[in-house]
């Protein structure tokens, strides 16, 4: 009985591909701007808009000032970073020179590009792993009830409350016992455990994967794995993207854990490497490191800002972030 709808959809699909079908304007689900009550109804004057826009602009300046500073100063020599005004350019223009230093082991304490690779590796393994596990676990908790599932879920909730700072040192001491210090798994494994992710995916599956759909598929004789991969997983994609985004940011920004568990600078992620450079530049007389700290910081934030701009609709809707609150 699905054939008719499939056929209709099929012809619709081909028609659109041929360009004959009038392209419907997709209503952006995450931005219900169309639903806004006109401001006159609140009894506000038009001038209010101008004033409030200016206020927003001021806060935007506050928000962007450090970003502007880091962009401007990544083009400066070490002397100019200190001697010229921070919010304007100065000659000579040494952006490319500074950038090339990121590929060298300047002070013998590590190469930026290697740290970049480490961070990317940890983010992909940790973030990807956390998302995969959140998908399985969230689906399992939402759509199966098995012995002990309630207790296990309470454990997940309890894990939400355990502060990272408090768990890091015990982790370190555990690693010392099982030889995971200076091992990338010491960084990746804890990053893959994401109670927030599991919790969010459970909530998301409850809302977006109808129980009836799964039951119907079971009646048709589909296996559980097939149901999960072919039916449930595609429906879970928006939620998974949010979890992926959050966990990648989490790994990318993590400082305390790698700071404690890594003592070899070839394993450092960017955060620890930049922290080390900042410390050496300031306290060990390696002032030539200052331009590296600046350009390194800039190059660190570019991938993440790009990622956020590309995946805007996932965080903009506050989709899952907001659902925690309910």
């Amino acid at each position: 009985m699905n054939t008719t709808t499939d056929a209709v959809r099929g012809s619709e699909e081909t028609a659109r591909r041929r360009g004959r079908w009038p392209r419907r304007r997709r209503k952006p689900a995450d931005d219900p701007a169309s639903d806004i009550i006109p401001i006159e109804m609140y009894g506000l004057k038009r001038g209010t808009t101008t004033v409030l826009t200016v206020v927003c602009g001021l806060f935007a300046i506050f928000t962007l000032a450090p970003i502007a500073w880091i962009i401007i100063n990544s083009t400066k020599t070490q002397a100019n970073i200190f001697e010229t005004f921070g919010f304007w350019f100065a000659r000579p223009f040494s952006l490319f020179h500074n950038f090339s230093l990121l590929f060298q082991n300047v002070d013998g304490y590590g190469t930026y590009i290697q740290w970049m690779g480490n961070t990317a590796l940890y983010a992909v393994l940790g973030g990807g792993g956390a998302t995969a596990l959140a998908a399985f676990a969230g689906y399992g908790f939402a759509r199966f009830s098995f012995r002990g599932s309630r207790i296990l879920f309470y454990l997940v909730i309890a894990a939400l409350l355990v502060p990272i700072t408090a768990i890091t040192l015990p982790l370190y001491l555990t690693y010392a016992k099982v030889h995971l210090i200076n091992s990338i798994w010491g960084m990746v494994l804890p990053s893959m455990v994401s109670p927030v992710g599991v919790y969010l995916m459970r909530v998301y599956v409850e809302v977006s994967v109808p129980r009836e759909l799964i039951d119907a598929a079971r009646l048709d004789g589909a296996g559980e794995l097939r149901i999960f991969f072919r039916l449930a997983l595609p429906l879970m994609v928006p939620g998974l993207m949010t979890v992926l985004l959050l966990s990648i940011v989490g790994v990318w920004n993590n400082y305390f854990l790698p700071l404690i568990i890594f003592s070899q600078n070839r394993l450092y992620p960017l955060t620890v490497g930049l922290g080390l450079w900042a410390q050496r530049a300031q306290n060990s007389g390696n002032a030539e490191l200052f331009p590296l700290v600046v350009i390194g910081g800039l190059v660190t934030i570019i991938p993440l800002i790009a990622l956020f701009l590309v995946l805007q609709r996932y965080w903009r809707s506050g989709l899952l972030l907001g659902s925690i609150a309910n």
Binding site: I37, A166, I301, F308
Partner: protein
Amino acid sequence: MIAPLGYAIYTSLYTTRIIGGTSFSGAANYTATLQSADFWSGVIRVIIYAAFQIPIMLAIAFFFATIFDLGVAKWGTLFRTIFFVPFAVPAVVGAVMWSFLLEPQFGPFVHIANAVGVHNVDFFSSTLMLPSIVVIVIWEWTGYNMVILYTALKSVPRDVVEAAILDDTPLWKIILRVKLPMVRPAIVLLIFLNVIGALQLFTEPLILYYFQPQAISVNYTPAIYIYWTAIGDSEYNLAAAAAVVLGLVIVVISVGSLAFRRRRGEVE
């Protein structure tokens, strides 16, 4: 599915055992932590910090979330994106940038302060250090809080607001008496997350310490105390005890606030 939980449980068993082991060699570590003035002065400092940082940040976040929700400013979408940008900036990089910006000798903000007639400000003096950290953290987290509040405000049913408008309710009353109570769960959640974050304050003061060692003591926050005790002094057992105490303080606050909310019927 069991794997992450299994791993978490496995880890927790190990940690308990290790900590159990340390307390074997003397519960002295816990006594030492509980009696340590260094540890508690850090705790008090982060509580003072939280008392300023969280209300200011939430007020700003709520203000802008309301503006974007009402649509009373132009380019709302653009501004929302801009405000969210710092969330993508690692705390280390954020702290490094602000360290340069606020630097007492050459920092541009000191130049600007001089230019407008405020001379000899030292953002890194012992009195201004904590407010400086408040500013840095507000810079980092306001956008994130704003997005959550904005989403919550968006879910307030339109007819509720329209009914209030028809009743000639003034705008400020609609915001504070109609909308604010309806997004209270989101605000409670944010307070909760921010308090936990504040108690674990670590990265910003540590980076500022690299720039200005005299203004940040080794026990500035509990997390820094744990770090220096473990890595600086190699007193792992004492640091582990401090970590457990800090963890317990946070868990007690979390469970306490949950119990409080449950009693008021806000969560099932």
